[in-house]
């Protein structure tokens, strides 16, 4: 207050403060920019095991003699009272060979419920070579009370999979989608999964 310095201030304080505030604001923005940057980075490199390729229609399959072992893993988030398991623990597939795997989901509760499966591939770099042509994780899944359903995945492994990868684990976690009202869920037909466009 009244203890202000008699010393004249160098005029450049304003300039330096303006620059530093700008840096701070830019870094705040950078924190948020990390979110899209991270997604792009993971999609390109496979870091995080989410780089799964979705096949384009009419893609040519080049079969190879090399085989890899695929392990299937299933988890349910505690917020969703479903039973969810892989019908087969492992499979051995040839590279480039179209294969299918089945999961089984069962709604243990007395009300209809929507779930969404989030996938992950280990080792992460294998996700770049893991191509799914059809998957229950592409859309939201609705199960009526006590309904159970077999859920298929159609996939193949690209033949240029790096040599050091001998085993691949495909993991799904089912989360509850709470955005759907009970009426909307009940209106879903048994074999009519909602066509909700996935975010990724």
């Amino acid at each position: 207050m009244n203890t202000e310095q008699p010393q004249p201030r160098p005029a450049s304080h304003t300039r330096i403060v303006r620059r530093l505030v700008l840096v701070a604001v830019a870094m705040f923005g950078f924190g948020f920019a990390l979110w899209p940057l991270y997604s792009v980075f993971c999609d390109l490199t496979g870091f995080g095991g989410r780089g799964i390729q979705v096949a384009e229609s009419g893609q040519q399959l080049q079969k190879s003699d090399r085989q890899v072992k695929i392990r299937f893993d299933a988890t349910v988030n505690s917020g969703l009272p479903w039973l969810f398991q892989a019908k087969q623990k492992t499979a051995t597939v040839s590279l480039g060979e179209m294969s299918e795997a089945f999961y089984l989901a069962m709604n243990n509760s007395a009300e209809p419920m929507a779930g969404r499966a989030i996938y992950n591939v280990t080792p992460p770099e294998a996700s770049l070579y893991f191509v799914k042509t059809e998957c229950f994780c592409f859309t939201e899944q609705v199960l009526q009370a006590n309904e159970s359903r077999e859920m298929p995945v159609y996939y193949f492994i690209q033949p240029d999979l790096p040599d050091h990868i001998k085993e691949i684990t495909l993991s799904y976690t089912f989360f509850r989608d709470k955005n759907q009202s009970a009426e909307a869920l009940a209106a879903f037909g048994d074999s009519n999964p909602a066509e909700v466009s996935g975010s990724r």
Partner: protein, 547 residues
């Protein structure tokens, strides 16, 4: 509050010096609430940090008391988790960081020959935000949903499962961030614009250099933390899915963003400690600092490297091999500039005429014990080994070694070193030494056994443990109680020095002290260096080293 001491001895040591500059505002509110004086604000910061040190320390005592024996004795597990979380938040943001800002306020203008900080009113604001921020943070303990209990790193999804009080935590962190950023802007503007004529950058004391670099780190990473907790806030209350896997987000991304802040943050807490120790060791070894320029460049290198090693905190999330190797080697690279620093401190002492007053004891204790913490950090950097150490008491032992006998010992060294300068009185050397020896011994009893606990697999942040960990935990708790109690000696020494000590300190205070703060009287006049001092070999420590 113990902050009225400067009234008591206006008439003493500096009556003849700068008397017309020594008019302090009258009235308690004018003096402390509205102050724009860097010395007053420095005192406020230091007193606040000491209060928070004891608040966080009390929580540590609860933790160690619960861990004294296996089984649940004293507190509920959820309250235990709140204690570990709050202990960390308060010690990091409430004790260590404000204490360093307090030192910066007091010492930087005097060390570079400036009359005050560049932006005195903003300086007042940066301090007075803090009591409100911590009142908000602490108030969560009284709320229905309790305080934050997911660890100070606030990892989702666990941190998002807390109750409504989470919003208070987020806004408290925002306020601490704003305070730190304003303080840093002030420090940078002061150092770059207000040095006395002739005080070139490479003549500045190392404490000023380390704080300049620290301030840049703060401006770069505190906003990133603010962004991360804002995303947590919107995930918790507004239905966004930044970190929610079900909605397409990724909880691991929070860890990346958090540690992009968090790793520079640990250097924010330790770089000013390097600076203080680099001031104290030359004084009591009566030799100039060995390798001044190397120290400056080493500090800058450490600061740069801190931005590119963050993922070594999260080796267990599942990273490609190339990523693990990169973060392992980049982390180990930090040992090089840090090793330069330790080497230079030891070389400064080599063949010096050393005496062992309390500040020097704490500084040497810092060098030895911080190095132990640095070496356990190297062990943690080894990716393959980290999979075993991760989230165990080995990590707890590591970061407490660098923070307690590291950063906190340097704070105490600095407090003893400059206390006679600030108050104009000598503290009790006898009680200072007693404080050092009890602290130095008990801190090792407290943290050294935790290495063994961690190697044996005891997880951190758990209120109960398997019986094979019982003995080391009991030893650790006993060390903790002694260490906690011995800090009361520190308070006693300060109060005695401020109010009771009759032994006047000279301006120089320490025979070997060099630097502009020592050409002022003790205590310094309320407004110092209104006329810039002369910079030459008789007044500054590094005058001969300008290249």
């Amino acid at each position: 509050m113990s902050i009225e001491h400067t009234h008591g001895h206006d008439h003493e040591s500096h009556a003849a010096h700068d008397d017309h500059h020594d008019h302090k505002p009258t009235g308690f509110l004018n003096r402390w609430l509205f102050t724009t004086n860097h010395k007053d604000i420095g005192t406020l910061y230091l007193v606040f940090a000491l209060l928070m040190f004891f608040t966080g320390g009390a929580m540590a005592m609860v933790i160690r008391a619960e861990l004294f024996m296996p089984g649940l004795q004293l507190v509920e597990p959820d309250f235990f988790n709140q204690m570990t979380t709050m202990h960390a938040l308060i010690m990091v943001f409430g004790a260590v960081m404000p204490a360093w800002v307090g030192f910066a306020n007091w010492m930087i203008p005097m060390m570079i020959g400036a009359p005050d900080m560049a932006l005195p009113r903003m300086n007042n604001w940066s301090f007075w935000i803090l009591p409100f921020a911590f009142a908000m943070l602490l108030s969560t303990l009284l709320m229905d949903s309790g305080g934050p209990a997911a660890g100070w790193t606030l990892y989702p999804p666990l941190s998002l499962q807390g109750g409504q009080s989470f919003a208070f935590v987020v806004f408290a962190v925002h306020m601490m961030g704003i305070s730190s950023i304003m303080g840093s802007i002030n420090v940078i503007a002061t150092i770059l614009n207000m040095r006395a004529p002739g005080m070139s950058l490479l003549k500045m004391p190392l404490f000023v250099w380390t704080w300049l670099i620290t301030a840049f780190l703060l401006i770069a990473v505190m906003p990133v933390l603010a962004g991360a907790v804002t995303m947590l806030l919107t995930d918790h209350f507004f239905g966004t899915s930044f970190f929610n896997a079900a909605g397409g987000g990724d909880p691991v991304m929070f860890q990346h963003i958090f540690w992009f802040f968090g790793h520079p943050e640990v250097y924010i807490m330790i770089l000013p400690a390097f600076g203080v120790v680099s001031e104290i060791i030359p004084t009591f070894a009566r030799k100039p600092l060995f390798g001044y320029t190397a120290m400056v460049y080493a500090t800058a290198s450490i600061a740069f490297l801190s931005f590119i090693v963050w993922a070594h905190h999260m080796f267990t999330v599942g990273m490609p091999l190339t990523g693990e190797l990169y973060f392992m080697y980049a982390t180990m690279l930090i040992a090089v500039p840090t090793g330069v620093k330790v080497f230079n401190w030891v070389s400064t002492m080599w063949q010096g005429s050393m005496t062992f007053e309390t500040p020097m004891l704490f500084a040497i204790g810092f060098v030895v014990l911080f190095t132990i913490g640095g070496l356990s950090g190297l062990m943690l950097a080894i990716t393959a080994a980290d999979l075993q150490y991760h989230d165990t008491y080995f990590v707890v032992a590591h970061f407490h070694y660098v923070l307690v006998p590291g950063s906190v010992f340097a704070l105490m060294a600095g407090a003893y070193y400059w206390l006679p300068k600030w108050t104009g009185h000598m503290y009790s050397e006898k009680w200072g030494k007693i404080h050092f020896w009890i602290s130095a011994i008990s801190v090792n009893i407290l943290f050294f056994p935790q290495h063994y606990l961690g190697l044996a697999g005891m997880p951190r942040r758990i209120p109960d443990y398997s019986t094979q960990f019982a003995d080391f935990n009991m030893i650790s708790s006993i060390g903790g109680f002694i260490f906690g109690a011995s800090q009361l000696i520190f308070v006693g020494v300060i109060l005695h020095c401020v109010y009771k000590s009759r032994e006047a300190a000279s301006g120089r205070v320490w025979e070997g002290a060099r630097g502009l703060e020592w050409i002022l009287s003790s205590p310094p006049p309320y407004h110092s260096f209104n006329t810039p001092p002369v910079i030459d070999a008789t007044t500054v420590a590094h005058a001969g080293e300008a290249h």
